[in-house]
């Protein structure tokens, strides 16, 4: 095994950490149930609302027709970040972080393992719920085809960026900042126009919305579902903004980790 510098990545070390999270997930049925429970409840609620609104005429019915797609894509964004953050929080809750920080594990490997776990946790939640959406409402998320891949990549990148920034804040400030992990993404819920078009926002807020990558994804989803057009331009914008966002989050994470080493926060991981 390589014992190189800070930026060396060892598949074995990343695998070790993924294995640790997998053991944990496997050992706890409430943790597994939690991955499916809330996405299923949300899907059912929005699905019934969509069915009800479909009986109306005009714009309302047209907007309502995208609710199921919106809620499932929102889940990718939200659950992706939560999957990343919870795996990180597990280390703090179990007081294991110092063990990891004093091991040969590099920060970049730690982050890679958190990213892998966010996708695994997301898959456990979203796959059964998307199948339920087919069974209950005849809505096939997978029918979006390659567009879904573009949506997924952009949403997961945003979720990792938010997760990475949150992890840095937790390292620096301890569990007192835990609520941030649960609530930060909700700031994006109104701004990224999950359930309504960007045009519904006041002008100045539209400018803010267009700085956020998920806005492009949800607009792209509506274009696909309502107009049957795949907007590659929107996906390219989202990808570009995501690269900026994730770079910024990585810089912030490393700065906060460095600050935690200066402040001795890694020794006291309580509140």
């Amino acid at each position: 095994m390589s014992h190189g510098g800070e930026w060396t990545i060892s598949g074995a070390r990343v695998g070790a950490l993924v294995r640790r999270y997998w053991y944990l997930l496997r050992s706890s049925w409430p943790r597994l149930l939690d991955l499916v429970y809330w996405p299923a409840v949300q899907m059912l609620m929005w699905g019934f609302l969509q069915t009800y609104m479909a009986q109306a005429d005009g714009t309302l019915a047209r907007t309502g027709a995208t609710f199921l797609g919106a809620v499932l894509l929102w889940d990718i964004l939200f659950r992706g970040q939560i999957g990343f953050s919870i795996s990180f929080l597990e280390e703090m809750w179990s007081r294991n972080l110092a063990n990891l920080m004093m091991s040969p594990l590099r920060p970049v490997e730690f982050v890679a393992a958190l990213m892998i776990m966010s996708v695994i946790r997301l898959a456990i939640g979203i796959v059964p719920v998307s199948l339920m959406a087919i069974a209950f409402f005849g809505f096939n998320l997978w029918g979006m085809g390659l567009a879904l891949v573009a949506f997924f990549v952009n949403l997961i990148l945003t979720s990792w960026a938010v997760g990475l920034f949150t992890a840095g804040v937790l390292l620096r400030n301890g569990l007192g900042a835990e609520n941030l992990a649960w609530t930060l993404m909700f700031l994006l819920l109104p701004l990224t126009c999950v359930y309504y078009p960007v045009a519904a926002l006041p002008g100045w807020l539209q400018t803010v919305a267009w700085t956020l990558p998920p806005t492009y994804v949800f607009e792209g989803m509506r274009a696909l579902m309502l107009d049957h057009v795949f907007r590659a331009d929107l996906m390219a914008w989202a990808l570009g903004l995501n690269l900026v966002l994730i770079t910024g989050a990585a810089v912030a994470f490393l700065a906060l980790l460095r600050s935690a080493r200066h402040q001795g926060s890694l020794l006291q991981m309580g509140e």
Partner: protein, 272 residues
Amino acid sequence: MPEAPAIAVDRLVKRYKTGTAVDGISFAVAAGSVTGLLGGNGAGKTTTIAMIMGLVMPTSGTVRVLGAAMPDERYRVLHRMNFQSPYVEMPLRLTVRQNLAVFAQLYGVDDVARRIGRLAEDLDLVDLLDRPTGKLSAGQKTRVALAKALLNRPALMLLDEPTASLDPDTADWVRTRLEDYRRATGATILLASHNMAEVERLCDRVIMMKRGRIEDDDTPAALLARYGRDTLEEVFLDVARGRAEAGPRPADETRQAESDARTESAPHEAAR
């Protein structure tokens, strides 16, 4: 040419907003030695160990561990080090075997199953391997933490109160295992402890800290002689409470007492 020290600390300072935790300490730990870091709460022991591990950045000064400058070159040597502390736990829901397997992989241990099996036999963990770590008693958890600390056959072990809150029997058992490991491998051990009997038994040398500074630094026997005390606990109290009347004796008297102490401790050393 003398062997390079396993740890070399030079004018190390750590200041927090709330005060100075470590205040310009310098010391070197010889390879293969067992050194005790003693001091009351807030003396700076844990911060010193954390800086040696690269977990905390010094405000100023340098730390070299196994030849690597910490924390910048820590990845050159972290795989040759390990640590144990009762204040750091392993994931409680994972079984002992799972926890050890994860850490073995993190440390790049070859033939993980065999290594875990060997440690389980040595540390009497065979029956515990498939139990969740959270279901173990304090003593059992300490043995698991020791197994984790020994997984990569470290050349340097940093132990922060390795027997805290253990019953005397388990504590004695842990000390014996540490002595065995050191004897078998020639590893260097730096030990922070409040337990004076432990320090007297295990350590070749004692560094006494108070308010972030080194107050004294010598072999246990020499310290006993210098302070004119029978136990390290009494010496510890003298240093901690700053008792002037019990301070070091004049130099000539000290030399004579140290000479006596060395004579007395020789059979003890041979027995170890």
